[in-house]
């Protein structure tokens, strides 16, 4: 990315954020540089998202949510599978970014991308199956047919910490949207350059606009905005700073946001079930 093939002219890319299906700069006009790991050589400039960018992203996510959850589960699975395909086709770009800006070894980067693709395929498959696994028919001692089914919570704020393994990040993102939630995600700070290929994957996978909104910026600056926003129904914090945890819980209490830790395994139903509401129906069946 840092140079054109066969050209001496380096074209450092300005990596834009991905909000409402569009590649946008921060409304604040702020940016920050990402360097080649261990050097002072500029790799790319990134947008430093602001409060108002979060607001725009939440509005987009909120508007996209009914349409996304209204699609058939099968169709959401198809789109997630398409995301896996597109990630595969951008494999070299992901690997290059990880080795250049994060100092990951080539082998580790390659296997991280492979696991991310596996996670996308895993949740693509589960999109129309988790209902059967997590829902239930409940025995009750009255003349009712009693069953429990799940619904997406709505708009989820996904906050990276300093660093999150790429496959874990992508897996959690896929798990959240596979049930019909929409996401406002703040990239983990040390990996925010991955926003570039990841947003291109999202933009070319038939994913409706606004379903996933990717922002780059500082967690310290933006977490309070996300946690206090009344249109966000659930938060997922991928870091382990206990101070941040308690702050998110306090701010989220106002509209009873659920503050959820990511699933313990990248590929597991826990990653889906944390972002569902369960509804139990008592249906009279006569005596």
């Amino acid at each position: 990315m840092s140079g054109l093939n066969g050209s001496q002219l380096a074209v450092p890319k300005t990596i834009k954020m991905y909000i409402d299906g569009a590649f946008v700069r921060s409304e604040s006009g702020r940016s920050y540089p990402v360097y080649v790991k261990g050097t002072k050589q500029l790799y790319a400039n990134l947008c430093r998202g602001s409060r108002k960018d979060v607001r725009a992203a939440v509005t987009a996510a909120q508007e996209a949510q009914p349409g996304w959850s209204g699609r058939s589960a099968y169709n959401r699975g198809q789109i997630l599978y398409r995301m896996a395909e597109m990630t595969e086709s951008k494999r070299s770009e992901f690997v290059e970014l990880m080795t250049e800006t994060m100092g990951t070894t080539k082998a580790a980067a390659a296997s991280s991308v492979t696991r991310a693709i596996d996670a996308l395929v895993y949740f693509a498959g589960f999109a129309d199956k988790y209902h059967q696994v997590l829902g239930s028919e409940n025995p009750v001692s009255s003349p009712h047919y009693n069953f429990t089914c799940s619904e997406p919570v709505g708009v989820v704020g996904l906050l990276g910490g300093d660093t999150v393994d790429f496959d874990v990040w992508v897996g959690q993102l896929a798990a959240i949207i596979c049930s019909g939630n929409t996401v406002v995600a703040l990239m983990p700070e040390l990996e925010s350059a991955l926003l570039a290929p990841l947003s291109e994957v999202l933009a070319t996978s038939d994913l409706p606009k606004g379903v996933v909104n990717l922002l780059s910026g500082e967690l310290d600056e933006l977490r309070a905005v996300v946690a206090s926003h009344m249109e966000i129904q659930s938060l997922c914090y991928m870091g382990d700073d206990s101070k941040v945890w308690s702050e998110l819980k306090v701010l989220g209490a106002e509209n009873m946001k659920r503050v959820v830790a990511p699933g313990r395994e990248t590929m597991g139903l826990e990653s889906i079930s944390g972002f569902l509401e369960f509804k139990t129906v008592w249906h009279p069946i006569g005596t």
Binding site: R55, V58, V225, S228, H229, M230, E231, E254, N255
Partner: protein, 322 residues
């Protein structure tokens, strides 16, 4: 093209009404200029409160019922629950005034009685659209009857539509006479004249229609019915404000302004306030001289007030629909 059109005034004299040319590019540029103000914190809160107090809360649907109108009147008196608002301010440690009532409710003539009863003693005006709203394509005697019924039912403001058919056919005298006749029928009630600018075609026509309505005795001029897609915009409002300003300088009579339709966000409302303040000045910055014809705008204003007080972005579900 002629420079002016002779209009026969009610007292029999003839008055040449100039056809003012309007620089469309210049107007648009100047109107955009009002959208670049940075209005924050206390000023923003003041603007939001002022805008709330200027809202003509409107319901003009075929499906309007008396209950719906009563519900809207309740919202007009207390846009939010005063107790809950006070509680929220206490928790946020903010010392702010209670949320004001809106300026008026705007309904169809058949619903006026209900609104008057619901708003008795509150000081909130009851406005009624009349004269065959929204098309205005009925005979004059029916229009007058429409107005009379609304006034008798207790409406203190009448929103009339001009006859765009006559205006486009060049029968300006007919349009003028009609406004004069309706103004007489209004008696003590204030008359707002809706130009339906989206159907007038050009800013010159908007300017001329404004002058015509002002000369005929309109207390307010209003942009739109809200029933066609092209509603109030900043350039159109600017042209109308300029007409008001020119009339004020010539005669000293103050005419009010009401943009209506399409103003949905607090941000837009603040742009309008900036424009009024800078074109007409502080004397127009009150509900007696400036109104917003709107329904969804109110909730966004409230949302922004809550944002100012609590620091949180609020959700729309926190406020009642009507």
């Amino acid at each position: 093209m002629r420079d002016f059109i002779n209009i026969k005034m009610p007292n029999g004299s003839e008055k040449p009404l100039p056809l003012v040319s309007v620089d469309k590019v210049g107007v648009t540029e100047r109107a955009n200029f009002f959208t670049t103000r940075s209005i924050k914190k206390d000023s923003k809160l003041w603007a939001l409160y002022t805008a709330i107090s200027m809202v003509d809360l409107t319901t003009l649907e075929g499906a309007d019922t008396d209950d719906r109108v009563r519900q809207m009147c309740a919202k007009a008196i207390h846009p939010v629950s005063p107790y809950l608002f006070q509680e929220m301010c206490r928790q946020s440690g903010a010392a702010v005034e209670p949320i004001p009532s809106v300026a008026a409710v705007c309904v169809y003539p058949n619903r006026v009685k209900t609104a008057v009863a619901a708003l008795k003693g509150t000081g909130i005006q009851v406005a009624s659209v009349a004269t065959g709203f929204p098309a205005g394509q009925v005979a004059l005697d029916i229009k007058l009857q429409d107005v009379k019924q609304a006034v008798e039912a207790g409406a203190s403001e009448i929103d009339m539509v001009i006859d765009r058919g006559a205006f486009h056919s060049g029968r300006y005298q007919d349009v003028f006479d009609e406004i004069v006749a309706i103004k007489t029928a209004c008696g003590d009630a204030h008359l707002k004249v809706i130009l339906e600018t989206g159907e007038l075609g050009s800013l010159e026509k908007v300017r001329f229609a404004s002058d015509l309505a002002i000369q005929a005795g309109a207390d307010f001029i209003k942009t739109s019915t809200g029933k066609i897609p092209s509603a109030a915009s900043l350039p159109v409002t600017l042209v109308m404000l300029q007409a008001i300003s020119d009339h004020y300088q010539a005669t000293g009579r103050k005419v009010g302004m009401k943009p209506a339709g399409g103003i949905r966000t607090a941000k837009q409302a603040i742009h309008y306030l900036c424009m009024v303040s800078e074109v007409l000045g502080a004397e127009w910055m009150n509900p007696q001289m400036f109104r917003f014809g709107a329904s969804v705008l109110l909730n966004d204003l409230l949302r922004q007030v809550y944002k100012q007080i609590t620091g949180r972005y609020y959700y729309t579900k926190a406020f009642s629909l009507d």
